[in-house]
């Protein structure tokens, strides 16, 4: 089992290198630093000197992959690739357009992001799994039918509608909680309750339907028939037999997103003015701050890969077949 997990860890490195190369290609090969400079400076201020200065300020004036003017290891290290891409492996993301250190900014913003994303995730998971289990329990009844209808309708509604509608109704018409913003300490809950609620509600439709399908797939398995033939009550059949087995496919989809919770949600954070990583990304996109977007892509991938490893580890907990192989 240890070898299995170690192998999974080792497998992560080539993938991260791949991600790094892709982002490098996207940001520095598809467009040259000159293009970016022109774009950032705006049409009016573009002069060759301005471009050169812009590049020099950000360290984009070096060669891409190989520095033929340098000697020794500098051939490789004194390049854009090494300075801007390879150094992300050690957590050095450089500076944003506003001159702040990106790594520091990220560290500061993870907290608020997590404050929204974690409750949303836990509450949402609990509600959708329970709802799906209830639907599967009452399968082929009117309750199940209308439950599924509700799910399909709910998943046909745009996520934007949940946010805009929720904000309008709860904050503006009923004035129950502030419309947006973020506070520290205990004050924070007033700001958190609405985005969490909306996050949970907007996910109910599709997740419930997905979990229900998984449960129904298990319901028809032979071992369930065996459990019934033992005379076990239906609730026990569901909670002891079906839930345990359905956990395996559910874990695949769920565990992998846990690390990504650090990244926050783009939409929720920007609508509710929460100073997390999601709104940081959005602001960077709107300001066309390439350094920040590049860093977020890399961090996102790292977190995703951590999620993959966590998924593999969680398998060994729920699936004895993997634990003992």
């Amino acid at each position: 089992m240890l070898a299995y997990i170690v192998r999974r860890f080792l497998y992560a490195f080539p993938i991260l290198i791949g991600v790094n190369l892709i982002t490098f290609a996207l940001f520095f090969v598809v467009n040259t630093p000159d293009d970016m400079a022109r774009m950032q400076l705006g049409v009016k201020r573009v002069t060759p000197e301005a471009i050169e200065r812009w590049k020099a300020e950000r360290g984009y004036d070096k060669p891409l992959m190989l520095n033929s003017d340098a000697s020794g290891t500098k051939v490789l290290t004194d390049t854009i690739f090494f300075e801007k891409s390879a150094r992300m492996f050690v957590g050095d993301f450089g500076r944003a357009e506003d001159g702040r250190d990106i790594a520091h900014e990220i560290g500061k913003r993870m907290g608020p992001s997590l404050a929204i994303a974690l409750p949303t995730f836990i509450l949402g998971l609990f509600i959708t799994v329970s709802f799906a289990l209830t639907l599967a329990f009452f399968r082929a009844t009117a309750f199940d039918f209308w439950g599924v209808v509700l799910c399909v309708a709910a998943m046909s509604i745009s996520g934007l509608f949940y946010i805009i509608g929720g904000q309008y109704l709860i904050s503006k018409v009923w004035r129950l909680v502030p419309i947006s913003g973020f506070g520290d300490g205990l004050e924070a809950w007033r700001f958190l309750i609405l985005p969490v609620l909306i996050g949970v509600v907007s996910g109910i439709g599709s997740s419930t339907r997905w979990y229900r399908t998984i449960f129904l797939e298990e319901v028809n398995k032979d071992y369930v028939r065996t459990a019934r033939a033992k005379g076990l009550p239906e609730t026990l059949v569901f909670f002891r037999h079906i839930l345990r087995n359905a956990l395996i496919p559910i874990l695949t989809g769920v565990v992998v997103v846990i690390p990504l919770l650090f990244m926050g949600s783009l939409l929720t954070e920007s609508f509710f003015g929460i100073p997390g990583l999601g709104s940081y990304t959005i602001d960077a996109i709107n300001a066309q701050d390439f350094a920040v977007v590049r860093s977020m892509v890399f961090i996102g991938s790292v977190l995703y890969i951590v999620g993959l490893i966590l998924t593999d580890i969680s398998y060994t907990v729920v699936d004895p077949r993997i634990r003992f192989e």
Binding site: P14, I15, G18, V19, I22, T23, L26, F27, V30, N31, D35, M36, R38, M39, V152, A153, M155, S156, I157, S158, G159, L160, F161, I164, Q167, Y168, K172, L260, M263, L266, L267, S270, T281, I282, I285, N286, Q288, F290, V293, R294, M296, V297, G300, S301, Y304, I305, L308
Partner: protein
């Protein structure tokens, strides 16, 4: 000389290519009994067929909006013809009243006056601040502004009555068609439809058509004299914007899948069938792509695309062309970031298929690998591809709205549900609230996505061997 010149945008080409592919696929399906049987199951599904009817209505709007031209300018005779910069579509021509009768700024649905107060010159000199009368909305009422409800109600009723008569004609036609098919001789075609004893869910289709006609005909009838969905900030009819958004949504939903399909199918099958290092490589590629969170990858790619577009203005002769190319680029980016799921699915299925005995029998005959893939593996994966195609559609339409909001969607000048929502959402803070733009965009999107989801379910039920 023709008074217009046909313009073929890249996206138009793809749209019509899709239509051609759809027709071709239809012919292929008609020749292949197992596939035909599956589609017949879709046809028997009432909910699915009702959804399909709604979808077809949307597609019709989208297709009308995909025939573009520009008008010839009035010029001196003898000189080479010059054409207007503005690119129009057949839909624009049909909706000329909607398109051309713009107000100054916001106005509520069925309003006769503008949303914002303005200084109005009084006939006798001097000014007053009041809600000015609309230029077009409810003009025929003259001073009798209070009669909006009666007038609109009466017009709607008259239009509905006409729509109903038209619908009866459709019902009669369907009845005659069903009556000619073999079946219970004692029952006429109409009776069979009414009792739901037809192979094809005629009753669902006709009921949906009734609903569509009874809503759409009065709506457009009224649209001649009112702004039925109100007007937006620059006074443009919201109904017109909704109509224009349909095409954008459809293109995002369909072209994206079209882009990723060949890659996903090819790589998935190759990885699953040949295994070994090819499989390792393909798995590596999709794991890498998959590990970059989708929105971020799209954001990065769209940002880069913007740079390319902005630094090469010489590539585009018109704004429409630029917006169009940006739309296609978005489709490509969405396609490239979303093929991995289907690819993995197909790889897994191919792995299972290649161990099946009929594949081994073919190998025992020395049938070449290419032939085995084309004749044995591909046809047995078709149902997965079809299910994926219809399932992805609704997700993509929803994604467009979010991406456009985030600023990495379609060109801001292009009308889409996303840009409509994005433009209108700031106005929710106003008092009284400007709600109609949002409501119209969300409702239209909801109907489109719901229909797509329901249709996707019907298709999945019919094609999934486990469900059968």
């Amino acid at each position: 000389m023709m008074p217009f010149q046909i313009v073929v945008l890249w996206s138009d080409m793809l749209v019509w290519l899709l239509v051609a592919a759809g027709v071709g696929l239809g012919v292929l399906i008609a020749r292949n009994p197992p596939l035909r049987a599956a589609w017949r199951r879709v046809g028997a599904n009432r909910v699915g067929m009702a959804a399909a009817t709604v979808l077809l209505t949307f597609v019709l709007v989208g297709l009308l909006d995909s025939l573009h031209y520009h008008l010839r300018m009035e010029g001196k005779p003898g000189q080479p013809a010059t054409y207007a910069i503005e690119v129009l579509s057949v839909l624009d021509a049909l909706a000329t009243p909607l398109r051309s009768r713009n107000e100054k700024t916001y106005s509520e649905p069925f309003a006769t006056r503008l949303y914002a107060k303005e200084s109005i010159d009084l006939p006798g000199g001097g000014t007053t601040r009041d809600y000015p009368r609309l230029k077009h909305g409810g003009k025929h009422l003259g001073d009798d502004e209070g009669a909006v409800v009666e007038d609109a109600g009466f017009t709607a009723f008259r239009a509905a009555a006409i729509a109903f008569v038209g619908w009866l004609g459709l019902v009669a036609a369907a009845g005659a068609l069903v009556g000619r098919q073999p079946g219970d001789a004692a029952l006429s075609g109409l009776q069979r439809i009414w009792r739901g004893e037809t192979d094809f869910a005629w009753n669902a289709v006709l009921a949906t058509l009734a609903a569509i006609l009874l809503v759409v005909v009065p709506l457009f009838w009224l649209a001649g004299s009112y702004h039925v969905f109100g007007t937006d900030k620059v006074g443009q009819s919201v109904l017109y914007q909704v109509l224009k958004s349909v095409r954008t949504g459809l293109i995002i939903g369909l072209v994206t899948t079209l882009v990723m399909l060949p890659m996903a199918v090819l790589l998935g099958i190759v990885a699953g069938y040949f295994r070994g290092w090819v499989d390792d490589l393909i798995q590596y590629i999709y794991t890498v792509l998959n590990s970059i969170p989708g929105v971020l990858l799209i954001a990065a790619a769209v940002l880069m695309m913007q740079v390319v577009i902005d630094t090469h203005p010489q590539w585009f002769s018109t704004a429409a062309e630029r917006a169009d190319l940006r739309l296609l680029a978005l489709c490509f980016i969405l396609g490239i970031t979303s093929w991995t799921g289907l690819c993995r699915l197909l790889r897994g299925e191919t792995l299972k298929l290649r161990e099946l005995e009929y594949i081994q029998a073919a190998q025992a005959f020395g049938v070449s690998n290419g032939r085995i893939i084309v004749r044995h593996i591909l046809p047995n994966l078709m149902h997965i591809v079809i299910i994926a195609l219809v399932m992805d559609f609704s997700g993509l339409v929803l994604a467009e709205a979010v991406l456009s909001y985030v600023g990495i969607g379609v060109d801001p000048t292009m009308t889409s549900f996303g840009t409509m929502i994005n433009n209108a959402r700031m106005e929710l803070g106003r008092e009284p609230v400007v709600w109609w733009s949002l409501a119209a965009a969300f409702s239209a999107m909801f109907i489109l996505v719901l229909a797509a989801n329901l249709f996707a379910d019907a298709v999945r039920d019919a094609f999934d061997p486990r469900a059968a």
